[in-house]
């Protein structure tokens, strides 16, 4: 359609401002005094930059513990998903075995099972296994992802099959081939799959809320929610805590944004 370049930029800038406003407000408020944070009319830039809000927020709740728990959970999930997906994607992309298409279809079909249904049975299962309130409960149920398998399978299919046949003819084992040829060639895809699994686990609320109950097992999201109720009148501290929760994911995203955006754009992988 014929819209001038200036108009396009004005429209896009309006959208960009609307998108970033909450981030700006969060950052700005996290540095204000609480009096300034709720002042009318609102100040856009803090008059006084109170960096100690971050120290105070950290001291007001066991955030280091929450971060450690989330780090263990998210790293565990990322490692688990990357490993199980790489193995499965390798089988689907390179190996011949009876029922391969059927099994692939069955894997994809599990996407239809909604989290509402699995939530309660999984809770009953981890309780029966005595995993309630442990890292096993936070990690293992999230350890396989069909969308990740799908993404890696696509990446592996881009590797010439001749390479596989030649390696086989030379007596190379499939494990050696996967580890020495496929993995190095698909580094970026593996990184994206791992990172997306990390982000998904880091940002998850429902499962850690259900699978843990004690404060020392709380993840960042559950801890932040608890914190929000304890300091409901100190918005500057609450905003400092939300900044700290969001910062690691934004940093990870900025590091690998091109790969993540392309991975999502082409596969529609949701989180």
């Amino acid at each position: 359609m014929r819209i001038s370049r200036t108009a396009v930029h004005i429209l896009l800038l309006c959208g960009a401002v609307a998108t970033t406003l909450p981030f700006f407000w969060m950052l700005s408020s996290s540095l204000k005094s609480n009096v300034e944070a709720i002042r009318f009319p609102p100040t856009l830039v803090p008059q006084e930059w109170l960096w100690q809000n971050y120290v105070r927020a950290l001291a007001a709740a066991p955030f280091p513990r929450y971060f450690l728990n989330s780090l263990i959970q998210s790293t565990g999930v990322a490692a688990c998903v990357t490993l199980t997906s790489a193995l499965a994607a390798y089988a689907f992309a390179f190996l011949e075995f009876p029922g391969r298409r059927l099994i692939f279809g069955a894997f994809v079909a599990t996407l239809l099972v909604p989290p509402e249904i699995t939530l309660i049975p999984n809770f009953v299962v981890i309780t029966a296994l005595h995993w309630y309130n442990t890292f096993l409960a936070l990690i293992i149920p999230l350890g396989a992802s069909v969308l990740s398998i799908f993404l890696l399978r696509q990446a592996f299919l881009a590797i010439p099959r001749d390479l596989h046949d030649a390696a086989r003819a030379d007596g190379c084992s499939s494990g050696y081939f996967l580890w020495r040829i496929v993995v190095p060639l698909s580094g970026p895809s593996l990184a994206v799959v791992g990172l997306l699994a990390f982000l998904r686990a880091w940002n998850d609320l429902l499962w850690p809320l259900v699978a843990t109950s004690t404060e020392n097992m709380r993840t960042v999201q559950v801890g932040l929610l608890a914190f929000s109720q304890n300091v409901s009148t100190e918005y500057n501290l609450l905003m400092a805590a939300t900044v700290m929760t969001v910062l690691p994911t934004v940093a990870a995203f900025l590091l690998a944004q091109r790969q993540i955006i392309e991975g999502i754009g082409t596969t529609g992988l949701r989180g």
């Binding site: 370049r5 609307a18 407000w25 009876p98 909604p114 309660i120 009953v124 350890g143 994911t249």
Partner: protein, 322 residues
């Protein structure tokens, strides 16, 4: 090719071994729970199994006005969120598809909400919407407009705009639910932009060129070339956005005051209590596990029917290239 004699040889076994870890986890935490849930839903089940009650949990759910109300709220939410996400996503993506300056930067900015946590952004937004000293009410005060209760307002937007008594308080989605929808749209639009952008750039330039030679410009180019060619992407996004919105939890829960105790979630007056919140609070706060699981199955069947309907409509309307 597999040699007939070697079907169960070493090479074949390897395939199953490589699939085993992912397969076992999917089986244990996605497939088995489906059957186990069906079993649980037939019992009165509190902290543990209590008594077999047959299908009576299902009859209970189907007669539960709170459940149907939560479904109505879900429908308002889905209908309010999905079309807006798709239209906004498409408009922004088609502006960005013009190879303008700063395209990568815009894409990055729009995508940013999607990788942040819903809990954190829910808290930021619930303060922006705060009735006493939130940003929005500050803006209204600067414009000398009456402040709103935003997330605490159970009345519908029609009831607020029209003279008192013109509409009943329960007509349409509450202002609180509309606020939740706005945050959801803010969160997901960037995802739609990115998927649309990938779809738009995949349309060969020659197709547009040929249409231009035939005299199609501007709106006609959009109506007869771009929209039909992008329709598989639109269809795909409509299906997954509907499923996603049906399953929204963290964003609604955080915005409506759900904390670690689960109290208050779904307020004011239950006008933001979507189906997932109904299931969650029935299970988590009331410990009616069998009943909650039955409700989850009813929601699942409804969602399955809805997706099936979308697929049927999509089959007839979607144009695939080639």
């Amino acid at each position: 090719m597999v040699r007939p004699g070697a079907r169960w040889g070493r090479g074949n076994l390897a395939g199953y071994l490589y699939l085993a870890p992912a397969g076992a986890l999917l089986l244990a935490f996605h497939v088995y729970p489906l059957f186990y849930g069906a079993y649980v839903s037939l019992f009165r089940w509190g902290l543990t199994k209590e008594a077999f009650v047959g299908p009576s949990n299902y009859w209970g759910v189907l007669r539960d006005t709170d459940f149907w109300r939560s479904l109505l709220v879900t429908v308002y939410y889905v209908v309010g969120v999905v079309p807006v996400e798709i239209v906004l996503g498409f408009l922004i993506a088609s502006l960005l598809a013009r190879k303008i300056h700063g395209r990568a930067a815009y894409r990055l900015v729009y995508f940013l909400p999607y990788i942040t946590s819903m809990v954190a952004m829910g808290l930021v937004w619930s303060w922006i919407f705060n009735a006493n000293f939130g940003l929005f009410n500050s803006l209204l005060r600067l414009l000398h407009l009456p402040p709103q209760r935003w997330l605490l307002e159970p009345r519908s937007i029609l009831a607020l705009l029209l003279p008192a008594g013109a509409f009943s308080a329960t007509a349409g989605p509450s202002l609180a639910l509309i606020c939740v929808a706005i945050v959801t749209i803010w969160y997901y639009t960037g995802f739609h932009v990115v998927v649309y952008l990938a779809g738009l750039t995949a349309i060969p330039a020659e197709v547009h060129e040929a249409a231009r030679l035939d005299g199609a410009e501007g709106w006609r180019q959009m109506r007869w070339i771009t929209l039909p060619l992008i329709s598989p992407t639109t269809f795909f996004l409509a299906v997954i956005a509907t499923i996603g919105a049906f399953q929204s939890f963290a964003i609604v829960y955080t915005l409506t005051g759900g904390g670690v105790s689960g109290a208050e979630a779904g307020g004011p007056l239950g006008t933001t209590r979507v189906a997932t919140l109904f299931i969650f609070t029935t299970f988590y706060n009331e410990f009616r596990v069998g009943y909650a699981t039955a409700a989850a199955f009813v929601v699942f069947v409804i969602l399955l029917a809805l997706t099936g309907l979308q697929m049927r409509i999509g089959e007839r309307r979607v144009h695939y290239l080639g």
